[in-house]
Symmetry: D2
Subunit: 471 residues, 4 copies
């Protein structure tokens, strides 16, 4: 190769089928300096050539909703550190995560973000960004700090309408008023707190305290009402909003109606709302606790309704909502073997299983195309959250790639995840399609079941744009 001819690539992956959200791309892909340098007929002049005959080459997954190294509302520390969580994510084909920088009561927002960013910089093996999780608007210089963080590129904020860390309507409006002129996205866990408290009290009073009763403790109307209310807040203030983890088609209907009226709202769901029902909570003893999350899984027709909402693009993103608690006294069972459902931490692991489950559900089961899979799990979240360089196969983008074997069938076992949770909620499920090799900015971090990433090699993802400001 003649130097300076511009063809001395670092790496070429050849012989595979490139697929972006726009469809298949003919030819191969060449990388240089951690970026996609060329697509198509890229020649063979590279320091390294990887053969991918019979494989798909896709953008690395973007998981826009996960809890990493975070204290829960119940005071529990997540089972996962940035090191374990990002290792797990990478093993599942994900190269970018957005987790939470969670403010504790009384803490200044900048301190919260600094705390999480420092830990992530040390531990994360893949690229990452943060949703600033606001739980206390009464702290000193709150609005100033929030504005500063957004301008510094932390362009998404998370609030709750339920739990002890919920914000009241007035506080949420105040957060929106700070955000509106700066260009950021407000993410909301939207469930009506009073409805949940009412249902929970009624169940406990009636002695219905098992994990399976968790489902009834979060009435679907709680989600529907709060989603509708948050949409009106977005309409009133003009502040764009993302409705997190929808579990009901009715909530998705609210989003659809709003988007039709031009209100800047988006929504998300998770594999455990699409592929599981509340039946999982009924398992013997406290076993059901392994599947407990909020909002809870619903019924079969809800799964079907959420898939419809996905194909109508009322739901644009599928995230994991990875919330890791061990199934022992350090986590789920902290309140002991007689725990009531309201004493059990909510959440289940999902970083590693998200992409294989969804490839299987979408592509292998014929619900949609490979391009749809890429759009829902990588391209759309990267675009909506403004993650520069992520989620697509275009020259100039980061060389975050997955070499995917569309034929490989795997049955999940109990111990095969690489997080620190200790159980796999999808144990026994057989899926077809598997992430064989994973590249992060051109570096191979996963190969044939082995993890070669480095804690601390993950970078904070730049978010230079003011973020989504319209549909």
């Amino acid at each position: 190769m003649i130097a300076g001819m511009g063809t001395d690539f670092d790496l070429i992956i050849r012989g595979g089928q490139l697929v972006s959200a726009a469809g298949p791309i003919a030819g191969d892909i060449a990388l240089r300096d951690g970026r996609i340098a060329a697509l198509g007929d890229v020649g063979t002049a590279a320091a390294r050539v990887v053969e991918a005959e019979g494989k798909l080459i896709l953008p690395g997954g973007v998981d826009a909703h996960c809890h990493i190294e975070q204290r829960s509302g119940m005071g529990l520390m997540n089972a996962d550190t940035f090191e374990t969580a990002t290792r797990s994510a990478a093993m599942g084909g994900t190269t970018s995560v957005i987790s939470f920088a969670a403010q504790t009561k009384g803490q200044r927002l900048g301190d919260a973000v600094a705390d999480y960013a420092t830990r992530a910089a040390r531990g994360a093996a893949i690229d990452h960004a943060f949703h600033v999780m606001v739980t206390d608007t009464g702290v000193e210089r709150f609005a100033e700090d929030l504005a500063h963080l957004i301008e510094a590129g932390h362009r998404s904020v998370k609030v709750f309408t339920t739990y002890d860390i919920r914000l009241e309507d007035a506080e949420i409006l105040a957060v929106m008023d700070v955000m509106r002129p700066l260009g950021g996205l407000l993410c909301v866990h939207a469930e009506n707190h009073a409805m949940i408290a009412r249902a929970t009290a009624a169940l406990l009073a009636d002695g219905q305290t098992r994990p399976e009763h968790h489902a009834a403790s979060h009435p679907r109307m709680a989600e529907i009402e709060a989603v509708a209310r948050m949409i009106r807040f977005a309409e009133l203030t003009g502040q764009p909003a993302m409705l997190f983890h929808l579990s009901t088609p009715e909530a998705a209907d609210q989003v659809r109606g709003a988007r039709r009226r031009g209100i800047p709202v988006w929504s998300e769901t998770c594999p455990h709302y699409l592929l599981m029902t509340k039946e999982v909570l009924r398992r013997e003893g406290l076993e059901g606790a392994k599947w407990m999350c909020s909002p809870p899984q619903r019924g079969e027709s809800d799964c079907a309704g959420l898939w419809e909402a996905i194909w109508r693009e009322d739901i644009q993103v599928i995230s994991s909502d990875h919330a890791p608690y061990r199934f022992d006294e350090s986590g789920k069972l902290r309140a002991g073997p007689e725990a009531r459902f309201d004493e059990i931490a909510n959440g289940l692991p999902g970083l590693e299983t998200r992409l294989p489950l969804l490839f299987d559900a979408i592509v292998s089961n014929g619900r949609g195309s490979v391009a749809d899979f890429v759009r829902l799990t990588a391209t759309a979240p990267a675009r909506i959250y403004g993650l520069a360089g992520k989620g697509d196969l275009r020259p100039g983008m980061d060389a975050d790639l997955v070499v995917w074997d569309p034929e490989r069938s795997v049955t999940y076992g109990a111990d095969d995840l690489h997080d620190n949770v200790g159980y796999n909620p999808w144990e026994g499920r057989q899926i077809t399609g598997w992430p064989e090799r994973v590249f992060l900015r051109g570096q191979e971090i996963v190969r044939d079941g082995g993890f070669y990433g480095l804690p601390g090699a993950g970078q904070l993802i730049p978010r230079p744009d003011p973020g989504v400001t319209a549909r």
Copy 2:
């Protein structure tokens, strides 16, 4: 360059900004054998290098609705031949057209298609496909011929619900029944004939016979009713349908509602519904006749409503509906200087102005992005109509490209179009953004105002897929 290294491209366009419907692409584009061979860092090893500094490089336009070398319902031959029409299209940045193979009464469908295809093969300077226009379902072996044509790749069919060439409900259902199992798209000019006849009779009886009265002769309800009816036909039969040239937001609302319910329907509008109002019909004498088309232009709020429908993606495609009649006794004025509105041919030229008008309206006026412009005018029509190799910038696609100058301002004059119509309905309009160079399968056919295409060099576009069968 070392032979056999795979880098000996035919052409590299360098220094410009590549933009597809997915967004900007870093680097350059390399072509070989009429296709896009590589994107990104493609080196410089090519037989020819074109410099495009400061320019956009976009997929060539796809105009999915135009009348070329066709007899109108009034027995007029269009002013344009395939040669003049495709020259005009190319000069405006369009590299693919779908025009009509119009059955005459009593004619077998295959004969109609053969007639048009033969003429196109001889005259067309750009690539092309046909909508099979059905006007007589009573001819010998109708269903058999239609099925054969669809299977042969003529995968879209056009019917009218109004004019003398309209089909009755039963005939339209029969066409749909033939199409359904084969995978094709039914395109409909949907206006209620009885409502138009009623309004026309009332106007003529009242002496309201001028071009401006044409607008009232096509009540908006005529469009709304027929669009709603055709949607129900699609729902009943499962046959996908495209609603042509919507002029009212209410019709787009019908499409939206249907798509929400999962019915496979799409819709189209045209620049003259987005950027003109019926005021143009009021000009002195018969001048207004130059702008007469069906459905007619509507009011300001309709223009706004159609733009909204575009951004909500209720309308997915913007076509020209190029329907060329000279403003003389060979065309518009065939019935003489005292012609009543119902004696004047409907239609206006648009092949050449479509892209510049829409780039100006969308990009230069800030309604949307360059990627939106590409999607609406090239990527979406190519995908919906199954035009293989067209409408996107991915390696493997046809090398149909436009080098676009986003800064150049032009004021349209009366004589600056390259069709055979003789007037420019947009005369006097100033626009910003101009197609500077156009490549068809790697051949430069337009450069700096000169046309270098060849009649007969255009090819019939393959449509191998069974076509759209779901949203």
Copy 3:
């Protein structure tokens, strides 16, 4: 009684519970000169006093849709004459009917009305009005005749969108244009003809020719489409319309949507859509033919949906659509014992059973109140069709009354109807609630199972008002 004191009533009915659509009325009812003279404490001074302890006293029923002494679309004469039909109606508690004055092809409208009115004047034992049924708009002086009839008080017109007697869109619009300035109500049998023809042809081609296949031959979409289209005609022209005999909740949804937008439309259903399903068509041999009508009965969930539409007042009227054909070679079986479903006359008797069935369904089964029953079967049709003096218990109204025994249970037998049809489609059904005595303008015409009415005693009901002109 002292003469001239105004208390010398002709008749007092005492001791019963008066109920109008507004609710219960305390006290008794006094009649004079065929009208309600007083309500409440009316004393006892009357030529005759009827005791009604334990009974309800209700307005006589108004059946706004029935076919009497009419030729069908298949050329059959109905089994009933005005004499037999009105006797049957009266025995079931109905004191007013609106039947059809059906134009034959080529017949002037006035001749049609004169023909029916003459026969009714001779034969009808209860009061009556006519819907002018238009089947041929091409006859001499059509518009003039229609206008004249409306002004003369025949303020409702019936058209079909299906059958051989259907009108085309343009003809229906023309009828509406005549009616609009005069104030009348257009009633429509709205089903899409092409959809029915398509389904029928497919069934016959497939050898599916039994009565049960009649259901599939009238796709629900045929009703939905045509109802939607007629609503748009009402919106375009401003002409009020009544959608006859809805069989699907989706059609009722169209009516609701239209009414919400202020379009003057109403709708009707019948007992056989509310209380029967298409299962009745499956009976052995040709038995199912007894229940064949158009549109056909649908499924369980449709029955439920229609009841909901009634309580939401999207459907305002419940009529019988009495269409009497004997189950022999003079009627249903004219085409012989091997008849295909399309050769069998559509329609079933219902004049006599309508009120007992609905009282049982509404009141005895707890779906609604006595006042609701009165509203749906008497007050609403009288108001909507402008039947002067009918349908309510207010002083000044005609003394059309039913003494109703709410406790009496009856099981319908095969031979217990008083029409000339020869079978009872409701045979075997047990109902609670029975019309014991019936008064027409103060004359007792039914008492304890005996009929005392007189052919020719029925009068043409005046309809002085220009009819409904708004919701």
Copy 4:
């Protein structure tokens, strides 16, 4: 007249036109023992005969929303006592009122009701009932007391979602849970408190402190959101709800949508939302304060939209929301001549003007019929709130009557109301139609501008029914 014949009525009103919500009634009306004894030809045998030639005889008005002898949220006592308020109501044709028994913080509910009922028993000159206004759910035996009151016939409860007396979501759900099994109607002042606080703070911070800025301090979205939320609460709990004083068509749309889905909700508006706009708040100095109320008046198109909602029956009741404050330092101007809008008491008088304004707006201005007027102002509120014997002209109902002069034109002056407020917000408005004589249970209490009622003669209206439990 022969004694004992049952015709010796106490009073006959003769020669007028009786009209109920069902329409006109022929003949006259006879009263005995405070009730309607007979309608129609009632003879002349009565202790007293009143001639009413040329007049309408209507049910007395029912005002279901007024504040009497009540402390406001700002600690002000209303200007009116039961004596002055009911005198004013009667002079305007109203014979029944529902005012509020307002709980103070810490007060047991029974004590609140006893307090108001005692004062009403002493002072009220017309019949009355109470909405139990809950402001503190934390008091001893709250649920028990509430249940007891409902069972005792106080079948409607009022809560606020804004003001200092607002209840939180959880408290409102708790109130609904108590009510649901008992059968009562929850009335809600529904505005989102946080939105109002946000807007108010922004206005004050910006120095926008005048009465006219009150309008912007209550964003229309505040009403829309809270109405939507309360509807969902009704859906969740099954508890029927009345949405008070709608000021926006969008809120009425929410009610319509809910009623379509079968949710038991109703709504109300007031003359000052139908006939005034926020322009009234702009008058010079603090004059605008006279018209300040919450929610505020809106724009012209809102008035039109509310009328449409009335004719669609999305809004079923028109009340006064009489909230009397004098325009001096004892009332509106308590905070002095420099008061900011948020320091000025909200509310305006309306008991006396409601019926004349609405008769003029509905009947004299041709928007509807006399029957519509009666329905909206008397029949519907009596039925919805279960006021036994009120709101209709049927024998057995209370003889609450108004002799109405439909021709009399009056121009309101500043001093012509009979309440204790001291100004007439409708000063200068000319209306046609006037309540000439008023009868309460057969006693004449108003005649030709003179008031003949007696404080303490009004009775608590029995509400025996469990109240509305379905639409």
